[in-house]
Symmetry: C2
Subunit: 331 residues, 2 copies
């Protein structure tokens, strides 16, 4: 392959290859996790970046501005950090309506307030008409890690419990429905939400969190596979325990999508010590963004690096990363 | 005006209006300086972001990758911070050649080494063909401030000395020449360079630095005007002391450009106590990136907020910010 294809931005297999073969060696890093954890004068900081190119810019349950704030807040939060400050970089296409820009900026401001973070610096570039697509937004963020907090896939042990904090597939189906002019009754809205307070609650009830990640591009399946590879363990999940809204399931059936590969923007996968599982489930369900939390499976010592799903029919399915691109420009 | 125009990304007057009227009120910040200075657990950090959309991607003396590293390094450095870590966010157009991506990534890696910073996290998004322009790169950076270092336009006093560390206009003319297929003999190359080591040297010889800024988009003129407004002082400069390479002057004459408004990527404007001026000039000139440093003028108590230039002809010219857009997509 000698040219970039949409799949390189999917969060799936092609993107992992791009990171492994290009960015990793050049920048001297093993992989791009949710955040880099840095020691700055004895203070542990998390530092992360994400660009947002979602199309359309406004969709049921959110917009690119809100997404750009929550997405980066969540990348810091799942690293165990308390998000503090964000920067915002705008690349705007010439001719973009001012009223849309205003709506997006107001949405970012509200999202920042809701997530209790501050947007402290910014940048605006304008590109010629036809050389962009309305607006792209980059947000980068820093957060601080409390003493002793260190989430890492390497900490996962056989017997650990795997939870997800909410239903899967809502964001992707909401964006896709807006893009294609399809509506559902009841409507499917994006799950876009800041997860910092939910994750803080979890950390208050247990010190036994091994690892967290938010299953965005590539969906739950890709995140579970990454977790299995990075931990060198097997992740075994039960299909019937993975929460999927009925209308999301219906939409996916209709469109030939698998909800496990559809993007989310407001849920987290958590791997915890089994002794803490019920307490974590309880505290998630008490939180407004975790009412649909479920225990979905467990870590096992083997087969290493694999994700196995017990299907409703009683069989076992091997879950791989997203291949190619199912729904481009979902975030 | 109800739509975004190229001038909103120029670094000049329209961009300042956009910041003052849209981003400032929404995000609760007075303006977007080079970096936000933050207190994080008793540690002073600088945090900044910039997106790079330069066209063409490769130009005499540099490319978008190098620019993306040095630009953010410089924004941290002129805030008085020691740059430490950068993130890199790529927005790539479908169909972009892999070999160009490789060249850009290698260039970023070399630039990071030269600037002695680390790229620690990244993100890649791919947009459909025709919805981008090859590649856009966002870099965000953090740095630490040493005790007592605090550059601020508010510190400028009447009688202070204004210096520039090198010739103005080289970057803009180099990009423009590549874009339009014009060549000069000797060639005009971008001044793109990391300024952290030069600025560190300056801080070693004096504690009397009031303020620094790198005159990128909008050129030296816009930076001087910003400095005058932010300080509430007058900046008075002498045309004959502002260093401009002969071939840049020639190109500007030919094309009807004013070198004072042409973008730079490797020079800094410094305002220092007059007692330190000669020592700062000396240390700049000893540095590879400061051989063409000059004292160009002084701060005065009035007329407040104005920039006055003594012309070669002996007159006085009022310098305003860049109006509209002279050379779009210069960085």
């Amino acid at each position: 392959m000698d040219r970039i294809v949409l799949g390189h931005g999917s969060g799936g297999k092609l993107m992992h290859e791009l990171i492994r073969e290009q960015f990793g060696p050049a920048f001297g890093i093993a992989g791009f996790g949710d955040s880099a954890i840095l020691d700055v004068n004895l203070q542990k900081l998390a530092f992360t970046t994400d660009s947002y190119v979602v199309s359309p810019l406004f969709f049921p349950g959110g917009d690119i501005g809100e997404l750009a704030v929550y997405g980066t807040v969540n990348d810091l939060s799942v690293s165990g950090a308390r998000p503090l400050y964000l920067t915002a970089g705008f690349i705007i296409e010439e001719g973009f309506p001012f009223e849309h820009l205003k709506a997006i900026v107001v949405s970012m401001s509200k999202a920042a307030e809701k997530a209790k973070i501050k947007i402290v610096a910014g940048d605006t570039k304008v590109v010629n008409k036809g050389k962009g697509d309305g607006i792209f937004i980059n947000t980068s963020g820093i957060g601080v890690l409390s003493d002793g907090i260190e989430f890492s896939a390497a900490k996962i042990r056989g017997g650990d419990t795997v939870l997800v904090s909410g239903q899967v597939g809502n964001h992707g189906v909401a964006v896709m429905s807006e893009r294609n002019g399809i509506s559902f009754d009841p409507p499917v809205v994006s799950d876009s939400a800041p997860l910092n307070s939910l994750i803080e609650r979890v950390c208050e009830v247990t010190k036994e969190v091994r690892f967290m990640r938010d299953p965005t591009r590539g969906g739950l399946a890709t995140t579970l596979k990454e977790t299995a590879i990075e931990s060198g363990k097997c992740i075994r999940v039960k299909e019937r325990t993975i929460p999927v809204a009925p209308q999301v399931k219906g939409a996916c059936d209709l469109l030939g999508l698998d909800p496990l590969y559809v993007a989310n923007e407001g849920i987290v996968v958590a791997v915890v010590d089994p002794s803490a599982a019920e307490a974590v489930l309880e505290v998630m369900r008490q939180h407004p963004y975790g009412v649909n939390a479920h225990i979905i499976g467990s870590g096992e010592d083997s087969p290493k690096g694999m994700v196995l799903q017990e299907t409703r029919a009683g069989g076992t399915r091997i879950i791989e990363m997203l291949q190619g691109e199912q729904l481009p420009r979902i975030c």
